[in-house]
Symmetry: C2
Subunit: 376 residues, 2 copies
């Protein structure tokens, strides 16, 4: 492994040397993992922060192309920022099953065409196992911290369960230790919207040269509403009309909120693979750390020596504060040093991606004190 592959702010891909056995029992061969890294790795490789992305994120968590292209968490990651790349070496991988460099249903299968639905169904634990295998291949043993928001937080919690002895700290923001029936319901609506699109073709749209664009757009619109709070919608749009003085008595986008949602749907289709959307939402729905530990969440964290930071937002109704509190209670029951913050914000679930100074300050302090303690 060369340093070129370690330092990859513009992204790199690595083929795992060994097959990966999945939770389902299936085995994936010739797995490729797309990743990106920001900052410099210390000589003793002790400053690695693994950041895990959310459902539709990618590995480009920091700025790339010499700063031309901002990363999806550029408010948090970069020189002098809360996760300071002058100090930490930040690594992020595209999740297994994704569509930004890692093997997923859109990747070529044995026959040459896309795997499509022949791709095995994956879990959050599988995503994390693939990340661990990538770190092995890169020669990175221990992590200073694993950090993520939303589905990234689920991966971070899974890391604490699967590889707790390999990390000093874990942070899960706007996340949950399981998908609730309401979470599952909204994902199922999205999947049904994709699969109802005749251009989905039973998943074989790529080889037939089409795309289930309308179905995927409806799925994205549905998810997007769950990412915003009612008050954010009121503040941003209210009942304001889009480019018109009066309602049009028709089915065009009269209201700004309609126009905005349609735009979100259309933009998403350009950047995301429909089958990846099915697979990743499924992995999230299957996520239930307590159940995997035999029914008691605290048992998922038994023996964990890493310290933990859990944060939620007051207006997040997708992964509400109650879910974060359940994680903190379980961590405490398992004897883990865990701090918790419920952050006042009217921005809903999306707040974890936005400018939230209190979160950023807490995250910076948590990371910094972890590094100092490790140094001591």
């Amino acid at each position: 492994m060369t340093n070129a592959a370690l330092h990859a702010p513009d992204g790199a891909t690595l083929r795992l040397p060994r097959p990966l056995r999945l939770a389902s029992g299936a085995t994936l061969e010739d797995l490729e993992i797309g990743y990106a890294s920001f900052g410099r790795l210390d000589a003793d490789r002790s400053n690695v922060v693994l950041v895990c992305h959310a459902l539709t994120g990618d590995q480009f968590v920091g700025d790339r192309a010499g700063g031309e292209k901002p990363g999806w968490w550029s408010a948090v990651i970069g020189p002098g920022r809360p996760i300071d790349t002058d100090r930490y070496f930040v690594l992020c991988t595209n999740v297994l099953g994704g569509c930004s460099g890692s093997t997923g249903p859109a990747s070529a299968g044995p026959s040459g065409g896309a795997h499509a639905l022949d791709f095995p169904v994956i879990t959050i634990a599988d995503m994390v196992a693939a990340q661990a295998a990538l770190l092995d291949a890169l020669g990175i043993g221990r992590l200073l911290a694993v950090i993520g928001g939303s589905m990234g937080g689920m991966q971070a919690l899974q890391w604490a369960t699967s590889f707790g002895d390999r990390m000093d700290a874990v942070a899960a923001i706007a996340s949950a230790a399981r998908h609730t029936p309401q979470n599952i319901a909204f994902h199922e609506i999205g999947r049904q919207a994709v699969m109802a699109d005749p251009d989905w073709r039973g998943g074989r749209y790529a080889e037939e040269g089409v795309r289930p664009a309308k179905g995927l757009a409806v799925a994205r619109m549905t998810a997007h509403v769950t990412y915003l709070s009612e008050s954010a919608l009121n503040r941003k749009f209210g009942r304001a009309l889009q480019d018109r003085a009066a309602i049009g008595y028709g089915f065009d986008a009269d209201f700004q909120v309609e126009s905005y949602l349609r735009h979100q749907g259309k933009r998403f289709v350009e950047r995301f693979d429909a089958n990846s959307y099915l697979y990743i939402t499924r992995a999230m729905d299957y996520f239930d750390l307590a159940e995997a530990a035999g029914g008691r969440l605290a048992d998922a964290f038994a023996g964990l020596t890493a310290r933990a930071f859990i944060a939620s937002f007051t207006s997040d109704w997708l992964y509400p504060t109650a879910e974060s509190r359940a994680i903190v209670r379980a961590l405490h029951a398992a004897g883990v040093e865990a701090s918790f913050a419920e952050i006042e914000s009217d921005k809903g679930h999306d707040a974890f991606l936005l400018d939230e100074p209190e979160l950023h300050r807490l995250l910076a302090g948590f990371l910094s004190s972890t590094a100092e303690r490790r140094g001591a």
Copy 2:
């Protein structure tokens, strides 16, 4: 008009003698209104209670076929029940734009085929104007009360605004005086799901012998989730699996909540017209009583002599208590006698249709005291 047409527990249809001019400026000719009635009309026609149905409801609010077929509000309406048909004459109409006997997009247009999208876009005020025209045709002048839940509550509030001098009381349950951007967003998702279905055919599915069943099912699934509270979903389903001992690592309905939603979607498609769904959701999105009154909700109720009863449910996140409180404040500001109850329930928006003894007791008392006061 014969008594047979007045007493119609199994439903009847009446063709309005005059065209109806709509809020959009369009005019509808030869309008038919489907309706049903329960109980007996007093000699002085003073015991009429108009019940307005919700988005996907119909006129069969009470039991029909001699009690064989329960109405959608049979817990509330019937002999000895909270809205006692031994005492009151209950009338309910299928809304204008609906698909259960009233003229709507599925009705035959001038060319003989269905109106489809040539049907003019309607408003809640248009629905109410059609109801008033039906009452005129039936020879019913004054109403003891207008009562409704959800979209039925919007109609009731619109009655108070449009025909306040024609009624003694108004009751709006789990309702709102306007559609919020979140309400609009969820409806827009449903409409986009319908219109994304290639079998929608630009609305002309009927003449082409198809139906946008998949799109309409997705729309219904989306709406259905908004009708249930998170706690109701937890209580009813949790993460329980459907007919299996372990997750299936696939895209079948592993979880009971998925199976339930798919079933709700499929059942709905059998009973509801897709274009009606577009038109009625649009009417709801356009609803904003304050805006129609010049910006101040209290002005919508200026001079209203009817008394009012407003109720909300603690776990209703679709039309939350705050929306009901805003109505009550406006009624009080307009000098209207208005009482309000926030009812403890974990059943979400759907609570208005279910067994909620407190609501039923309050509704019975409100109606009974209105009748006594009128009698005095």
